[in-house]
């Protein structure tokens, strides 16, 4: 039986494009489950597809001292959603490097729940969003540290770049901690391209579109540095950045909507 269709009252679906999701819900209703056994390593690159609506719902269970590293590019033309629920047993290690790159009216979101169940787990999530037009890019990330999951080390770094007044970034890191010896850091920023960096690049001979593309590349491309095979995702990200930076609406206003604080906990 298909799971009930979500509503926007559910926090994890708050910014979703449910109208776009409705016709394809049946094929995504059940999340896919992946298990990484004790001591094993898992690395995957999630490239965007050609569909208007792209949804990935994954449950990932990491055994004792298992390692998983995921590189994800979310750049659907209408609605893209990467949903990850991760559980970490003792000493497990999880890393997510993700980007939302959107233009037009698109909505792209990365929604994660990372559950530290065992002692000494480590998780690191680095998310970068570049948004133009009236695009929305969101990150909702909950980190749960269970009672007894001491020496947990969890980090969330979320940064968004808005190229246009109409673009929206949502960043919502969330912590739920039931242990007293843990390190959970999260930081979120939303900004625009720095006018002085743009002028510096233009004064060296780059036209405004190329200068923007170069600065955006610097903002995003570091995500793939640690990938064993990062060429395809780097190329796809470069293409997506070219698409969003070639519709120039210079200047831009202040960030439209900022959720979540820039802070260290």
């Amino acid at each position: 039986m298909t799971a009930p269709f979500p509503t926007r009252k559910q926090e994890e679906w708050r910014y979703a494009d449910l109208e776009a999701l409705q016709p394809v819900w049946e094929q995504f209703a059940e999340p896919l489950t992946l298990i990484v056994g004790p001591g094993e390593s898992f690395e995957e690159v999630w490239l965007p597809a050609n569909d208007d609506v792209q949804v990935r719902r994954i449950q990932l269970a990491l055994g004792t001292r298992a390692k998983a590293r995921i590189f994800a590019l979310n750049t659907a033309p209408v609605y893209g959603r990467l949903e990850l629920e991760v559980s970490l047993a003792e000493g497990a290690d999880f890393e997510l490097f993700g980007a939302n790159i959107g233009t037009g009216l698109s909505t792209n979101e990365i929604v994660t729940t990372v559950k530290h169940v065992g002692v000494g787990g480590r998780s690191r999530q680095v998310i970068r969003s570049v948004l133009n037009g009236k695009a929305t890019g969101s990150y909702l990330g909950k980190v749960e540290v269970a009672r007894g999951a001491q020496q947990t080390d969890a980090e969330q770094s979320i940064k968004a770049m808005l190229l246009d007044r109409g673009a929206t970034a949502n960043a919502k890191p969330e912590l739920e901690i039931f242990a007293d010896d843990v390190k959970c850091a999260h930081g979120a920023t939303v900004g625009e391209l720095d006018p002085m960096q743009l002028f510096y690049a233009e004064s060296r001979g780059l036209d405004p579109a190329s200068a923007r593309a170069l600065l955006l590349e610097g903002f995003v491309m570091g995500l793939w540095d640690s990938a064993k095979d990062g060429d395809a995702i780097a190329e796809a990200a470069r293409g997506a950045l070219r698409r969003v930076s070639s519709s120039p609406e210079r200047g831009g206003g202040p960030a439209k909507l900022v959720e979540g604080a820039s802070c260290q906990a």
């Binding site: 060296r204 405004p208 610097g218």
Partner: protein, 247 residues
Amino acid sequence: MLEITNLHATVADKPILNGVSLHVPAGEVHAIMGPNGSGKSTLAYVLAGRPGYAVSEGSATFDGRDLLALEPHERAAAGLFLGFQYPVEIPGVSYLQFLRESLNSQRRSRGEAELSGAEFIKLAREQAKLLGMDAEMLKRPVNVGFSGGEKKRAEMVQMGIMQPKFAVLDETDSGLDIDALRIVGEGINRIMRAPDKGVLLITHYERLLEYVRPDCVHVLQAGRITRSGDIDLARELERSGYAEAAA
């Protein structure tokens, strides 16, 4: 080569330049000295086309072209180089990529062939070596983690790579120790001392001028040139200060 006539400019509606007139012929180096807040950096930014620096009156031509009508990247392609007083950091973008794309963009707009990766790296290494900079630093993100002196040296490496016709150097000497000052001074001479090139050298101190030997020294005060002379004027300023010189 560079002809500035009665230039007035405002920043955030505040008048900063109040009628600057200056002619730098090809083959010459002119120095501009002046107290803090006299408009030296504003003049440099106006010439390079920084947004927010509005020209309200006057003109500036470069090789007969209306400089003020060009976009910043068009000025660079035309052969103008600004050495920044505070070089800008660009995280995530390596110096090699930044300079190669910039140079090739200039070359494309001039109808010249682009340099290949190998050609460019050879050029960049040569110029870094001539300015005593470790070429490995060019693999790092633009100016990130560079000391003040390293940033200034890197500006000169950029100038050596770009080979501009005209350089406006805004306090390139500040933040340099004595050895670096000599290397930068020699670099300016090597790269820019030529019959078809020109330099506008903005500085607070006379020391760099002992290496570069300007053909003319101007004093900028309250947004206009108040005195012009040879290097003796710079030496006099060093001794007696701007208040005396204006009198």
